[in-house]
């Protein structure tokens, strides 16, 4: 069995989560932002699995299956939206899609 301390496992999931957060904040390309959201979802699921293994309960794996379903829906909707944005604006830059902002 794995004897890595629980803190190290949670730290690993936290590093992955913050890499995703940094990517989401830094990148302006919508595909990259969506990828960063995927990384964050994945690290959240990793924490569920770690906790489920630690307490030897199946609930963590059940939660991961739910996260998987939510992620699949989110990705398909977001990619359809990205396609529509690209057809409208001919760019994937999220700063270009600011028509709701006051133009002053």
């Amino acid at each position: 069995m794995l004897t890595v301390p629980l803190e190290t496992q949670i730290l690993f999931a936290g590093i992955l989560f913050f890499l995703g957060l940094i990517g989401l904040l830094v990148r302006r390309n919508m595909i990259f932002m969506l990828m960063s959201i995927e990384i964050m979802f994945n690290s959240a699921g990793l924490v569920f699995i770690i906790a489920g293994t630690h307490w030897k309960q199946p609930d963590g794996q059940v939660m991961f299956i739910f996260i998987l379903a939510v992620t699949a829906v989110e990705v398909s909707i977001a990619l359809a939206l990205i396609l529509q944005v690209y057809h409208h604006f001919k760019t994937l830059d999220s700063d270009a899609v600011n028509n709701l902002k006051d133009q002053n």
Partner: protein, 172 residues
Amino acid sequence: MNVFFYIAGVVAIVSTVMAISGRNAIHSLLYLILSLLAVSVIFYLLSAPFIAALEVIIYAGAIMVLFIFVTMMLNIGLERETEKKWLKPRMWIIPSILAAVLLVNLIFALKSGQTIPSDKEAILPKQVGISLFSTYLLGVEIAAILLMAGVIGAYHLGSQKKKVKHRFLEIK
């Protein structure tokens, strides 16, 4: 035994950094797939083999293929010239090395024989299924409704209609 966890963790973090810092979307997606595979190895080491298989099949298999399809659709014009550049070894040598490290890691973890958890310690797919369809039955039904809404929404958003734009919304 623990060294397998650390190797897979390092591969996951390195490939995630490469994924979010890359310039080219396709290369970043390949690094992201590698990151998901590394996390899948970690799931296996955490005695959740069912979830490890789901991660490879659904995340790396289905969701990332969707990403790659859309990315390929969006820059279909530039592809002819860049295709030659993509086939150079410089582009795929680092992901290949990382994937090879992961494969060797997995083979050694399998051969060591210590990773196969005993029946008392592992959480088997049977337990997960029983819990999923008894305690969390309501959640399964809500997920089904969500998936249905996702199908309808993706169909609606993805269909190419002739758009009538208001004159204020036109791009100059």
